[in-house]
Symmetry: C2
């Protein structure tokens, strides 16, 4: 399987600290060594850095750790391949355009017998179930709303419905963002933490590094970090319920829903816990 | 204006040498310092690195110079902004998906009174005439061929027709690739060179660097380099004719056409020569 890392903020923030701990899990403190990727929204722009080298030693990951890119929405992924080869076209996150915005998607899980009926508006470039699911979501949004960007509430409901269509096929932990909102869905494992005023110190689990966020952040700053497993050992992380979908905006959990998980998939999910 | 660099090869090749000379023009040997970008196709995958710092000193450009990515199709761009701000969403090259392939586009020129009728299938994220032109081409290809990828000959003809629609509006030097073919069109300034067996030494104009390609390449390797201005001072570069469109495949110029340039645009082009 894989691991996910996401960030949604009220003000542009660099993710260097969290990414350093997360990247160590790509071959150093954990075995997710079949490539990695990270996408940064900067206003409407989006930069995607991917590599099929392990994130613990990739020169691209080194750049990310040393070059603090300030972003309000970040999605990162370290891969332990289960479907598809370790070819670069199978590295998450994936990017498509809809309504004049870039959309970014990364997935942790395994969708079985999953071959969505894609009309061709969005097609997968690689061979993963994950990119097919992303195309399924993009197509579903376009079919529902045409060329008109919907309200946030309507968008959330559509994402909830599309998530339900896909969870029928298996484990579907994912992060999705259009640069304004960040959607996080949990089938099995996902945690989050909201850091806000007054900020505190945080210490990484995967590297001996501490940051005092009260020195680098101000009143009004607010940052949500979402991760497959907690990244720090001195903070209280909130575990997502199975099936829970949360939309983060301005650094907060703004909308929530629980997407029903079919019984057969709940069993599959339970079986797959050990390998996430 | 801006400058373009492209590479199309028979076998995966790294562009470190050419990129080093090209990147120096982004604020060191020339004034194209409003950001840069470079896209590498690796099989069907495509990595796009962009930065709004000048390429002569950007940490992202440093990574590209030190990390030899082997690719069969590369498109790079250094920017001197004429339309749109220096925001990151306006940095070339731009990427979209069509027929399960990534497409990459970069432009040097200026399109005046240009507002293509985009149906919404492809929309610009930024505010440049260049990204609008790319969406125009992508939409035109989808309208002509639907979800079925055409033959190379039909694709070339369609690109030629779409280029003609856009050149009506001004200077339209561009590079376009789907990872297999690289299309290069010249309104005003574009040059190319084909390097093949037996390879020779090449010396950069913009940096004191020489490479002996006979030591790093073999029989069967073939590399076309396309650039706004020649990059080396000891090789013979071929100048594109105004209006010329060439499709490169396997390192060679495979198909050629001359797209008629309207008289009014020829005058505009002539006026703009000094600032390219």
């Amino acid at each position: 399987m894989c691991q996910l890392l996401g960030m949604n903020c009220a003000t542009p923030t660099d993710i260097t600290f969290s990414f350093t701990g997360f990247a160590a899990r790509g071959g150093h403190t954990d075995h997710h060594a079949d490539g990695f990727g990270v996408a940064f929204f900067e206003s409407k722009a989006c930069r995607v850095f991917i590599d099929n080298q392990p994130s613990c030693k990739s020169p691209v990951a080194e750049l990310i750790k040393r070059y603090p890119i300030k972003s309000r929405n970040v999605i990162a992924h370290i891969r332990k391949a289960t479907q598809g080869t370790t070819a670069l076209e199978n590295c998450h996150p994936f990017m498509r355009e809809l309504w004049g915005r870039h959309w970014i998607f990364a997935h942790n899980g395994d969708l079985l017998d999953y071959q969505p009926a894609l009309s061709g508006q969005y097609q997968a470039v690689g061979t993963t179930d994950s990119e097919a699911a992303f195309c399924h979501i993009m197509q579903g949004l376009r079919q529902r709303f045409g060329n008109t960007e919907p309200s946030t509430a309507d968008l959330f409901q559509a994402v909830e419905e599309l998530t339900h269509e896909i969870t029928v096929h298996g484990v579907f932990n994912y992060l999705l963002s259009n640069g304004r909102s960040l959607f996080a869905h949990c089938s099995t494992h996902l945690h989050y933490i909201v850091r806000e005023w007054p900020f505190n110190k945080a210490h990484l689990i995967d590297a001996d590094m501490t940051v005092d966020f009260s020195l680098t952040n101000r009143q009004g700053d607010c940052v949500s970090i979402i991760a497959t497993k907690p990244l720090t050992d001195n903070e209280v992380w909130t575990r997502f319920e199975p099936g829970q979908l949360i939309m983060f905006e301005q650094g907060y959990a703004a909308l929530r829903a629980v997407v029903p998980i079919p019984g057969s998939v709940q069993r599959k999910n339970a079986e797959s816990l050990a390998c996430v």
